[in-house]
Every structure is written in structure tokens, then in C-alpha cells.
């Protein structure tokens, strides 16, 4: 039965019907997704397990198990030096060269696209939990990353935390609780409670993305091989260098040390390292030089770095700032702030020379 809108008399009746139509549409839009619950109910398995960071995200399926194999590896290697960081460390430190120069084993614990939450958990759950006693643990970072606990915690990168996180991470959870956008999180929690989309996503997304592969390659074994090959095809070795890649745009508002230091994972790193008797050395990498000079630092960033230096020194940690070292020239860089493969050895030698007192 047609509902006439606004034009035919009586106009008020038509208008009432149009308003009703509008509300009906909104109501239907909110009701239909409840079907997700019914679809989920038809699936085996109970509700999703709670996250190890419940202040930050709702229940979800881990995308990777805790990489427990790292513990015996570290115990076997018994490194004198551990390097933790993302691709900034990965493209700079040639662990074999550093081991040659120091005459002692070096353990790189690197993950591209990782952030300070990952670095903290790597320190706590791999280095400290393994019981090894390295002379120094180096943690590489850029500018304000160290005090920005939210850096690389968005959905695209967050999964990597699964590799280093235990079943509960209460200390990190408390830090994140202070930094999380409560409104967004609460909204997400309400949506999850109402519609269960994350639970549906856990099985629907793989089903969707696997479907074309299942049609192409019916054999499961060969399909797994295909996916492994596909992942290898898009690995870092096959990516083109891009000048703009992985260059972080820094807003001055982030360069407020006093505001963010206590809401970051930095105090946790220092505290856990002190308890375990480990020496930490934080290495601030130099970003890509511009016009033959180190990148310009705003007064706010310069202040931030000084505050950071004071804070680390006061808490018994070491601090190395690459910025301004004339030997780190543009020709050593590849894309963004990354050092090119051929210059890794040189960087490692410069690094060793600058910290000679740590490498007896």
C-alpha cells in the first residue's frame, strides 16, 4: 500500500507517514544486523575469549599464538646484547657485524610495524622471562614513539602484539586504559554486545577470503602452500623503495614529554628492567636528512628530547641520539627513514664506535 508523501492533501497526514517511513527505515537498519547473532548461534564454539587488553578491545580470537619458541632460543644463544625495535632497528643493525665487533652474541628481537607496546612486551615476556642476562638491551625508536603507547596499535598493526603477549597483560592494560578513547571503546563494546560482529568476523572473513582459493585449489595442502607463497611474494624483499615510505609525520602536540611519559609503557620498561637487573639503552634514530642536513627539529621536539634524556638518565637508563651525527648522510638512506641494505654494516660500525664504552 503506497504511502503518499508531503504533496497530496491532507499534507499533515502525508508528512506523518513520511516521518513514520523514515523511522521505520532507521529501525530496520538497526534490527537487521541482529541476524549476525543468529548466524553466530548456529556455529559451534562459545563466546570469544577476552582480550589480554580488555580496556582497549573486546573479546577476540588471537591471530597468532605467543611466540614461546623465542625463550629457548634466547637461552641457547645467551646473548650479551639484545636489540628490540621495528624496521628502524632492522635496517640499521647488522647483528652479525655487531657480534664480530663485540666478540659476543647479539639477539635481534625485531618486528616491522611494531610500536612501544610490542617493545615493552618483548622485553618483559621474551628477554626477562627467558632469564638471560644480557649486558645491554638496546631499544630503537623514532622521535616521540617511546612515549606514544598508541603508536601502531591500530587494527592494521595490533595483531603483532599477539606474538609477545601473555594471557593477561594487566600493567599494559592499565596504561592503555588511561589513553583509550573511552567513547569509541564503549561504543565498540556496545556494538559487540548487541550484534557480535567481531565473533562473526573471526570466521566469516577467513571464509570469504578463502573461498576463491578453495575454488581454484581444492587440495588443502596445496592451498596452504599457495598462501605461504603468496605471503612470501609480498614480503619486504619484493617491495619497491619509496621515499615516502614509513616517514612519520610528527605533530608538535605529541612532543609533550611530561604529559605522555607516565601514560606510556616507558615507566614499565624501566621498572621491569631494574627489577631484572638489566641495563637498557634507548637509541633515537636520525630521520631522513633533508637538503644534506639532519631533519629540522621543532623547538617542542628539541625540548621533548632533552626531557627524555633527563628522565632516562635519572632512571638509570642510557640514551643515544643519532640525530645530528654528520656520518649519517642521505646516501645511507633507502626509503623513508630506513637505512639501505648496503649501509647497514657502516651504521653498525658507527653505532659500535659511539657506544664503545658499552662494548668492553
Amino acid at each position: 500500500m503506497p504511502v503518499t508523501v508531503a504533496t497530496s492533501p491532507p499534507a499533515s497526514r502525508g508528512r506523518t507517514r513520511s516521518v513514520a517511513a523514515l523511522w521505520s527505515l532507521a529501525a530496520l537498519m538497526l534490527l537487521v544486523p541482529l541476524g549476525i547473532r543468529f548466524v553466530n548461534a548456529g556455529r559451534a564454539g562459545g563466546p570469544l575469549p577476552p582480550s589480554y587488553l580488555p580496556a582497549f578491545e573486546g573479546p577476540r580470537v588471537r591471530q597468532a599464538a605467543f611466540a614461546a619458541h623465542r625463550l629457548p632460543e634466547l637461552q641457547r644463544l645467551a646473548p650479551a646484547y639484545v636489540v628490540i625495535g621495528d624496521s628502524m632497528a632492522g635496517t640499521r643493525i647488522d647483528e652479525r657485524r655487531l657480534a664480530e665487533l663485540t666478540g659476543r652474541p647479539v639477539a635481534p628481537l625485531l618486528h616491522p610495524g611494531s610500536g612501544p607496546a610490542f617493545w615493552y612486551l618483548a622485553l618483559k615476556n621474551w628477554v626477562i622471562a627467558s632469564g638471560i642476562e644480557p649486558r645491554v638491551v638496546f631499544i630503537f625508536f623514532r622521535d616521540t614513539n617511546l612515549t606514544d603507547v598508541m603508536f601502531r596499535l591500530d587494527e592494521q598493526f595490533r595483531w603483532s602484539l599477539d606474538l609477545v603477549a601473555g594471557d593477561r597483560e594487566d600493567a599494559l592494560n592499565a596504561v592503555l586504559a588511561a589513553r583509550t578513547d573511552r567513547l569509541l571503546y564503549q561504543l565498540h563494546a556496545v556494538i559487540e554486545d548487541t550484534y557480535q560482529p567481531d565473533r562473526a568476523r573471526a570466521w566469516m572473513e577467513p571464509a570469504l577470503t578463502n573461498w576463491p582459493a578453495r575454488q581454484m585449489i581444492p587440495s588443502r595442502r596445496r592451498r596452504d602452500e599457495f598462501f605461504a607463497g603468496l605471503n612470501a611474494r609480498f614480503s619486504f624483499d619484493h617491495l619497491r623503495p619509496m621515499e615516502a615510505a614509513d616517514i612519520q609525520i610528527l605533530e608538535d602536540s605529541q612532543a609533550d614529554f611530561d604529559r605522555y611519559a607516565n601514560e606510556s609503557a616507558l615507566p614499565l620498561m624501566l621498572q621491569d628492567a631494574r627489577r631484572a637487573g638489566l641495563a637498557l639503552c634507548f637509541v633515537r634514530v636520525q630521520r631522513r636528512p633533508v637538503g644534506g642536513k639532519p631533519p629540522r627539529q621543532s623547538p617542542a621536539l628539541a625540548r621533548y628530547v632533552e626531557d627524555l634524556r633527563r628522565y632516562l638518565t635519572a632512571h638509570g637508563a642510557l640514551f643515544l641520539d643519532d640525530t645530528g651525527d654528520p656520518r649519517l648522510t642521505l646516501d645511507m638512506y633507502e626509503d623513508g627513514d630506513h637505512i639501505r641494505k648496503g649501509a647497514r654494516r657502516l651504521y653498525t660500525e658507527i653505532f659500535h664506535e659511539r657506544l664503545r664504552h658499552l662494548f668492553p
Binding site: T7, S18, Q156, P212, G291
Partner: protein
């Protein structure tokens, strides 16, 4: 502020609620304030540019009417200041890089000034929109407005400020000036557009965008992988840009405004001319009215026509970005039009084509469009040359399978988009069956279908939204 953020959702709901409580003039003040808040949300200094552009255009238009003998001078004031700002912010680095490269090629080593300029989002869109106002006033097609507020609302109207569709002053300004009344019908259709827009952006564009980004990041793509990436990009750019337009149009309807359509199922185009009647319509018609026709259009013979088309498309390419690949993309489309026309002149069709020929025509045009998207997406000219010479017979088996898999995945994510286009196209071919009353009435079954579709869109957004949130592509232009 970006559309696909919680900030925007909160902003727009609060804005609409307050907006309809205000009288007309206060609504315009509120629109102006809201639009400037929206635009300056991340970079407040961008507001200086839009305010300067608006003021100059307002003064120029008023000057044209007050001093008809100085009309041309006021036009130049507007043109130079608008294009000056656009040129500086968008093309300065491009210009410097190219001058440096030319001098270096000539053996002259000069130090390159280092000035990295942040491109203000939406500058290309609002500059063109503001220019349409002064040009129309200059041509006598529009009277200059007395109210600076109305002109400022016209330039900065937030739903379409950042990525269009570019509105003509003659279309949008009267809507700003006329009192508006809340229409539940407009709100309902706006709702549908917004739901569809968010679905296209979050489920289709962002998911297939990941495929395109991965392929175009490869240093050694092979034939199948590359064209899977191009296919994904073709879907991404259409879903992404049309999503922005839909959300802009839907939000505008909530505010009592109507914006022009910007897309008409472009991948159903049969030939290049047809494609440009369907793709980014507001920009195409801007270039047609303010560049192509003033150049002479098709009035002065075939050679002049071809020249005018090539110039127009070259400028259209350059409008998209300060990079040679965009120029190449523009020229490519210009050439397609010229070649098609030449073919028609040399070999006119004796009789109408068989209806089934539509299918290969559409497929052929999609292939040609996709070649264009390769030029558009690939910023390095050497890589374009390499890509165009890749052979399907030199692909390893893994790459062949991967290409087919990624194509299938992109197709799977975009099925609703293709289904909609095919449905609309089939209905276009069928004779019209609805009478006029259908235009102003809502049948309950139809409402149920629409509600269910919106619900499914929301469910899909919740479950299948991409983990990687990508910016709207046209933000960078």
C-alpha cells in the same frame, strides 16, 4: 574531519539536530561556522586560504557589477589569486623538481630549494567551485551576491567541501538563499545514500584498496599480479570516490540541500565519450563549460576540436595531481576520444549496432579505462613503461594463480557494486513502467526492502570493514 570517523558521525548528528531548530538566516550562520569547524578540524590554518579565496571572489564579483568597465580586471584578480594559491600549494614542488631535473640534464648543478608544502585538502575542489561563481558573474549568467555569508556558505558547504561534487553557483547559491524546510522524504533518501556510501567505502573500497596497494608496492610485479592490482584499483577508485559523493549528497539532503550527481555507473560506459558523461560528472562539466567551450569546442572543424579535447584533458589530468603520470592519464583519455571520433568519421556505422554488442562494448571500454587507471595509479614513468611491456607468458605459476585469486577476491568484495550497475543499466534499457505518483510515494514493500538493504549494509560494515582504514583517494587532489 573525515567522513568515516566517529568524530564526523557525532558532529553531523549534533549539527543536524541543532540546524533544524534555527530560522533560515541563523541556519546559514550555523552552516558557515560548522563548515569552517569541519575544514579546520585538523589544520586550522587551512581556513586562512579558504577565507581569502572566498573574500576575493566576493569582492571581485561585487566589483564586476559596481564597475562594469573594470569587469575584466576583477575577473583577472579572481583568476590569478585562486589559481595562484592552487598553483603554489599544489604545483610548486612539481615545478621546482622539474626545473631542477632539466637543469641537471643540461649539466647545470644548482642547489634545489627545500620547501615541502603541505597540500590543503580540497583546495582543487573549492577553488574550481569558487571560480565558477566569478566566471558566471563575469559572463552575466549570474548576479553578484550582496551577502558575503551566503557566498562563504556556498564555497565552504561542508558535506562536499573536501572532495566534491563541484557545484555551480547557479545551482547551489539559490538553495543557500532560499528558506529550507525539513523533509522526511529527503531525509529518508539521504539516509539510503549515506548507508550505501559507507558500505562502498568501508567494505568495498578499503578492502580492494589493500590489494591494489600491495600490488603497486611490488618492485617486480608480473603480468597477472599487475593487472589484478589494476582491476582492484579500478574498483577502489570508483567505490571510494562515489562513496564520498553519496555521503556528501545524503548529508546535504539531511540539511535540506540537493547536490548534483557525480557518477552514473561509469563502468557500464560503451565508449570514451560515454565514460566521461558518467565519471566525475561535476568536474567533466566544469572543464567542458570553462575550458573546452571557451577554446572553441567542436565549432571550428575536426582538427581544432581534437586540439581542444587534448588541451582540456591534459589540464584535467594536471588538476588531479602535480605529477607527469596524471598528465599522461589525461592525454590518454583525450586521445581515446579523438581516436573514437576519427573512427566514426572514417567509418560511420551503417545501421544501429545489435543490442548484444553492448556487452563487448562495455567490456572493451572497461579494459581501456583500466589501462588509464594504470597510468593514474603508477607514479613512476619508468614503471609504467615496464608494466605495459609485461608479458602474460613470462609469469611464474604462483604469480598467475595469485593474480587470479586477487582478482576474484576484488570481484567478490565488489559484487554489490557491479550488481547495482548492471541492474540500473538493464532498467535503463527497459521501458519505464512507473507513473508519476511513484516518484512521491513510498510503498511499504519497497520500504521494507530498503530497510533490509540498509541493515545488511550495516551488518557488512560491522563484519567485513577493512582493518586498514584508507583515506578517500580524492582527498589528495
Amino acid at each position: 574531519m573525515i567522513f568515516h570517523s566517529l568524530d564526523f558521525v557525532v558532529f553531523v548528528l549534533a549539527f543536524v539536530a541543532i540546524y533544524w531548530m534555527l530560522p533560515h538566516r541563523a541556519q546559514n550562520v550555523f552552516l558557515f561556522a560548522g563548515s569552517y569547524f569541519f575544514y579546520g578540524y585538523v589544520h586550522p590554518w587551512f581556513l586562512i586560504l579558504i577565507a581569502t579565496s572566498t573574500t576575493i571572489d566576493y569582492v571581485s564579483a561585487r566589483g564586476m557589477e559596481a564597475r562594469p568597465d573594470w569587469k575584466k580586471r576583477f575577473l583577472w584578480l579572481s583568476v590569478i589569486s585562486n589559481f595562484g594559491m592552487l598553483g603554489f600549494f599544489k604545483y610548486f614542488n612539481f615545478f621546482v623538481d622539474n626545473v631542477h631535473a632539466v637543469l641537471a640534464a643540461a649539466g647545470m648543478e644548482v642547489s634545489q630549494p627545500v620547501l615541502r608544502i603541505l597540500l590543503p585538502v580540497g583546495i582543487s575542489f573549492y577553488t574550481f567551485q569558487a571560480m565558477s561563481y566569478t566566471i558566471d558573474v563575469y559572463r552575466g549568467e549570474l548576479r553578484a551576491r550582496r551577502s558575503l555569508l551566503d557566498v562563504a556558505v556556498f564555497v565552504s558547504f561542508f558535506p562536499h567541501l573536501v572532495a566534491g561534487p563541484i557545484q555551480r553557483a547557479s545551482f547551489l547559491l539559490p538553495q543557500v538563499e532560499t528558506p529550507r524546510r525539513f523533509s522526511p522524504e529527503k531525509a529518508r533518501t539521504g539516509f539510503l545514500l549515506i548507508a550505501w556510501g559507507f558500505f562502498k567505502k568501508l567494505v568495498i573500497a578499503d578492502n580492494v584498496g589493500v590489494i591494489a596497494n600491495k600490488v603497486f608496492a611490488l618492485s617486480d610485479p608480473t603480468f597477472y599480479l599487475l593487472w589484478a592490482g589494476v582491476f582492484a584499483f579500478a574498483i577502489q577508485i570508483y567505490a571510494d570516490f562515489s562513496a564520498y559523493t553519496d555521503i556528501a549528497r545524503g548529508t546535504s539532503r539531511w540539511l535540506g540541500f540537493e547536490l548534483t550527481e557525480n557518477f552514473d555507473h561509469p563502468y557500464m560506459a560503451r565508449n570514451p565519450a560515454d565514460f566521461w558523461r558518467r565519471w566525475n560528472i561535476s568536474l567533466s562539466t566544469w572543464f567542458r563549460d570553462y575550458v573546452y567551450i571557451p577554446l572553441g569546442g567542436s565549432r571550428e572543424g575536426n582538427w581544432r576540436w581534437a586540439r581542444n579535447v587534448l588541451i582540456t584533458f591534459l589540464l584535467s589530468g594536471l588538476w588531479h595531481g602535480a605529477s607527469w603520470n596524471y598528465v599522461l592519464w589525461g592525454l590518454y583519455h583525450g586521445l581515446l576520444l579523438v581516436i573514437t571520433r576519427a573512427r566514426q568519421i572514417l567509418k560511420p556505422a551503417a545501421r544501429p549496432a545489435h543490442p548484444w554488442l553492448v556487452v563487448p562494448q562495455i567490456a572493451g571500454m572497461f579494459v581501456l579505462t583500466s589501462i588509464g587507471w594504470l597510468l593514474f595509479r603508477e607514479t613512476e614513468l619508468s614503471a609504467i613503461l615496464r608494466d605495459l611491456t609485461l608479458s602474460p607468458f613470462a609469469s611464474p605459476e604462483l604469480d598467475r594463480q595469485a593474480g587470479i585469486y586477487l582478482c576474484s577476491l576484488a570481484l567478490l568484495y565488489s559484487l554489490p557494486l557491479w550488481a547495482q550497475s548492471i541492474w540500473v543499466e538493464l532498467n535503463r534499457l527497459a521501458p519505464a513502467t512507473c507513473d508519476e505518483d511513484d516518484e512521491i510515494s513510498v510503498a511499504w514493500p519497497r520500504l521494507l526492502v530498503q530497510g533490509a538493504a540498509c541493515g545488511l549494509a550495516l551488518a557488512a560494515i560491522l563484519v567485513f570493514r577493512s582493518r586498514t582504514s584508507l583515506d578517500f583517494i580524492y582527498f589528495q587532489f
